[in-house]
Symmetry: C2
Subunit: 596 residues, 2 copies
């Protein structure tokens, strides 16, 4: 008997079908089958072993006590699967979000103070509200306006900042938080002679373990014919191993007192108190821009992860439902003493690979973290920060995506420029301003690209009905009839370009011989690649036709697409030009106008 | 003997040809013919009669003494034709620019103070430098990114503000400058009971004269078979007539002292001293953003005027040369006590219609203004401000372009929204922020429009080689092969849309029956309307192909354009997909894949 039939029979009695419309009960719960259970439990355990050290490390990165990371891993992990459309997304603290929290709140209050913590809670609450609002207003499509170049450049820049920021923990240097990356690098160089060699040894040892488990061990086990399913729990246990070994070493050899190795220290035991974010208006207003930025970045990360994994099983995720689910997860974090969360791609991939079948895996993770928070936090006292720094560095260095930049440079310079602008702006101008600047540069570059479209003078190819570029093919043309094909929709940014092109052709004696056509009496615009003519372009087209008429030159069009033609007819353009001047095909037009 | 041959012979002796490369001597001077002279002189006089009252009125609008408007009409009118590519552009103060000067500088210093005047000079100098720089860097194309909707909405909004601002002068109300339009309207209503009835009478009388000369008189003269050439000087003399009649009435009846009618008052006689804009860095920095805004708006106005008039004679204007010429005109204004100038469309049309053949007309205008400034300024003492207000109102109300808005609403809602956003933002947020906001809205709307492109499932039309939309035509399709045509270039803002569309088709049971195609084994992307695939879209396309392969679905393409194919080949995409999966024509693809 499946869970579904059991639940269905209960629900039927409760007449819950009507209720379902109002209270969202997850799909997967209705269709749960007993054979899902083993995969879900194993995946839940593996993700927990990865999540616990990561969440503490990310909380420190965000300028918060480590337990806040744990708190943020409980309720969100339980809430998300109840609403989200992905079955395998692992929700919790994430690296880039943590950096954004640190840079934004660091300007308002000193880190690690109660005031800072309250700001973080308020921020989390705001992010939750914004994300839910975005989902309800169906604004999920907005994230499409961030190009891959901008996202990749942004993540790479943020990861670089995070990695450089961890160097001080790795070397055991005592450097207070700095304003800019430049001063941070300077401080590192200035204090490098005060390196704590024990901390550095622990850190480098941790990195060695993490790297070994990442690649050589996996390769070795594969050669011994272990299955992927069996390799995964072993290779992913590396962070947990680093934490255990590091903690034991510090504890056994008293490295904290004897060698000055910085440890995590006291973490309050037991569940967090119910927290209530403050609600004074001026704080909300100050936090709004950064909340908006983190909402979008967090959503971007979460949705990309959910989508790429869902697709592998031919499942579907809903952009707007993801917004709502992540928003509720953030509200959960805000009321349980946590800080902003999102779906992490790295942990979600592990969840997926470890065999998670449904959201139950995530719920198990959340419950396990609750157990750890209730009983096991004293064990983290001797956990050295250098080990956490090593875990962060290994987690983020994969995000520095120079390969994408190189590829873009080869394929499309405009995208490469957008990548580089975002990357450099994130490093040197700031995290939020960087992504904004990058997005604007990408938009302007795109417009610039479409603002000088490919325009070809076309002629008849042999005796066929095909008309092709005179530069690429040996075609028949007429000196009196200029047939022009524009390979782009006509809109405000490129309509003047077409106009200038045409007036160059008929009036500019300095233009190239190919372009200058003083004998032209008729101009035919081939519209096969024009998907849209906006009002600006229409205006320019009309004044062009008017001015051409004054010069005794007639204007014709061919192959106008259906939807474009409908609109042109409605506004009276077709009457203005003359219905008989719009030809169905270029073939027919040139036959009639030029006799060729 | 033409002027040209005379000048040529002189220049030949001076070996000036080599010099010409470095010092720009205007084309029209070389080709000057004696028959041009009459037209140029008449046009010069008519434009002067229009320019003198307008320039004083606009200076008052900009918060400056009236003579500043006259000063700004001398040197710029002489300098522009020496460099500009338009033969008929009339350069001088303009309404919208004056408003922008007033709103920007009004925040820094009180109007009509020496400090305010110095700021205006510095601003003019900055605008000149920016425009020259723009021209040298060939950035003229930048103005194309302002759509017609934004420009029209902006001009309409600014004209509305100007017209409302003149009401207080028309009614003779004493209202100090207000921060916002709202408080201005409020002040007008609050003080309307203190209307100066004599001023109002003079103002309304002026408006009546101006309107009568604009339409009924022209109509009446036409019926009496006057030629257009003869009507023009009569109809365009209305502002001069208003000024003369108004001045005489005030002078004869002592209306300034007896009835409290506000007059222009003392205007210093003689030429202005050579002025030198201040150069302290912090002032320049403060003025930079507004200088940039006025440069662009001024250039936009000037270039649009130059272009539309040049076209009527099959002449060409150069975007970048115009920038330089207007920049030099502004520098001229900066060093001769003026304020920002540009080419006014209205006066240029008059210049053109009055028969101006070359830039000499503009030079004559400049010289006439110099004569007026030297000898005739005392005559403006009794000129009532209410008459100038009437002239401004009649000049700007034509700029409120609701017809364009209505047309856009019919033709294209996105453009109409951009118009309205700009208009409202200019009215209530501010002039510069308004145009910026409008530009951003227009860009986002354009992206939004291309972010969900028209996607058609296509099939074979009868036995032809044409493939058309299954919704519009009765075509043959195959249940195993899904042929999709996207009517837009693929780039970051719409690539995800295509991906979602395809996954909806194969995986979403809730999609419409037409869209849901669970039996699909092959997907063919018809690329006839794809002019570009950017790096983001390429990335998404590759992950789409990868994910489809996991699901056992093969991906094919057809009709990929030459330039797109070149780039896809270079980056290795063609090898990744398989050369044999890209078909030259949809016909061949469907024959091979589906056997239809």
């Amino acid at each position: 008997m499946t869970f579904k039939s059991l639940i269905d029979s209960i629900l039927e009695k409760l007449q819950v079908d009507r209720l379902k419309r109002y209270i969202p009960i997850p799909e997967w719960l209705f269709r749960y089958q007993s054979e899902y259970l083993v995969g879900d439990i194993i995946a839940g355990i593996i993700v927990t072993s990865l999540l616990v050290p990561q969440s503490m490390a990310y909380a420190l990165l965000a300028g918060l006590p480590p337990q806040i990371g744990l708190y943020a891993s409980m309720l969100p992990a339980i809430l998300y699967p109840l609403l989200g459309s992905s079955r395998v997304l692992a929700v919790g603290p994430a690296a880039v979000d943590s950096l954004m929290v640190a840079t934004a709140l660091g300007k308002l209050e000193p880190q690690n103070t109660p005031e800072y913590l309250i700001l973080a809670l308020t921020l989390t609450f705001l992010i939750g509200c914004i994300e839910i609002l975005m989902g309800v207003l169906r604004l999920g499509f907005l994230v499409n306006f961030l190009s891959h170049a901008v996202i990749s450049g942004f993540i790479s820049g943020a990861a670089t900042i995070i990695a450089i920021g961890q160097i001080k923990h790795l070397f055991g240097l005592k450097i207070s938080n700095t304003e800019s990356l430049f001063t941070l690098v300077l401080s590192i160089f200035r204090t490098i002679d005060r390196t704590n060699w024990v901390a550095l040894g622990l850190g480098l040892g941790s990195i060695a373990i993490l790297l070994f488990f990442n690649y050589p061990l996996v390769k070795w086990l594969k050669r011994r014919r272990w299955s992927d399913r069996a390799i995964l729990p072993v290779s992913k246990s590396a962070p947990l191993l680093v934490v255990i070994v590091g903690t034991l070493l510090v504890w056994a050899l008293h490295l904290d007192r004897a060698a000055g190795v910085k440890v995590v220290g006291d973490i309050p035991s037991g569940l967090p108190h119910f927290s209530f974010p403050i609600f004074d208006l001026s704080t909300l207003e100050t936090l709004l821009p950064i909340a908006l930025a983190i909402s979008l970045v967090g959503y971007l990360e979460g949705f990309a992860g959910a989508q790429s994994l869902a697709r592998k099983r031919r499942e579907k995720v809903s952009a707007n439902r993801e917004f709502i689910a992540l928003g509720v997860a953030n509200l959960g974090a805000a009321f349980s003493g946590g800080y902003p969360v999102t779906g992490g791609l790295g942990r979600s991939v592990v969840n997926f690979a470890a065999g998670a079948n449904t959201g139950l895996a995530s719920i198990i993770t959340g419950l396990l973290v609750i157990v750890i928070v209730m009983f096991l936090t004293p064990m983290f006292y001797f956990l050295p920060q250098t080990c956490l720094a090593a875990i962060i560095i290994i987690a983020v260095y994969k995000l520095i995506d120079l390969a994408t930049f190189r590829r873009m440079w080869l394929y499309d310079k405009a995208d490469a420029i957008a990548w580089l602008t975002t990357f450099i702006a994130v490093l040197f101008v700031g995290v939020e301003k960087g992504i904004l600047l990058g997005a604007i540069v990408a938009l302007v570059l795109h417009l610039w690209r479409t603002s000088h479209p490919h325009i070809a003078i076309v002629g008849r190819l042999g005796e066929t009905e095909h008309f092709r570029n005179v530069l690429r093919y040996d075609v028949k043309t007429s000196p009196q009839v200029l047939a022009i094909r524009v390979d782009e929709s006509l809109y405000f940014a490129n309509a003047k370009y077409l106009e200038t092109y045409i007036f160059n052709a008929i009036a500019n004696r300095e233009a190239t011989p190919l372009e200058y056509r003083p004998d032209v009496k008729k101009i035919l615009l081939v519209c096969s690649a024009i998907n849209l003519i906006d009002a600006s372009a229409l205006e320019i087209l009309e004044s062009l036709i008017f001015d051409l008429r004054l010069l005794g030159i007639q204007f014709y069009m061919s192959e106008v697409k259906g939807p474009v033609m409908d609109k042109l007819r409605k506004i009276g353009f077709v009457d203005y030009l003359g219905e008989e001047r719009i030809f169905l095909s270029t073939d027919r037009a040139m036959r009639e106008l030029a006799g060729i």
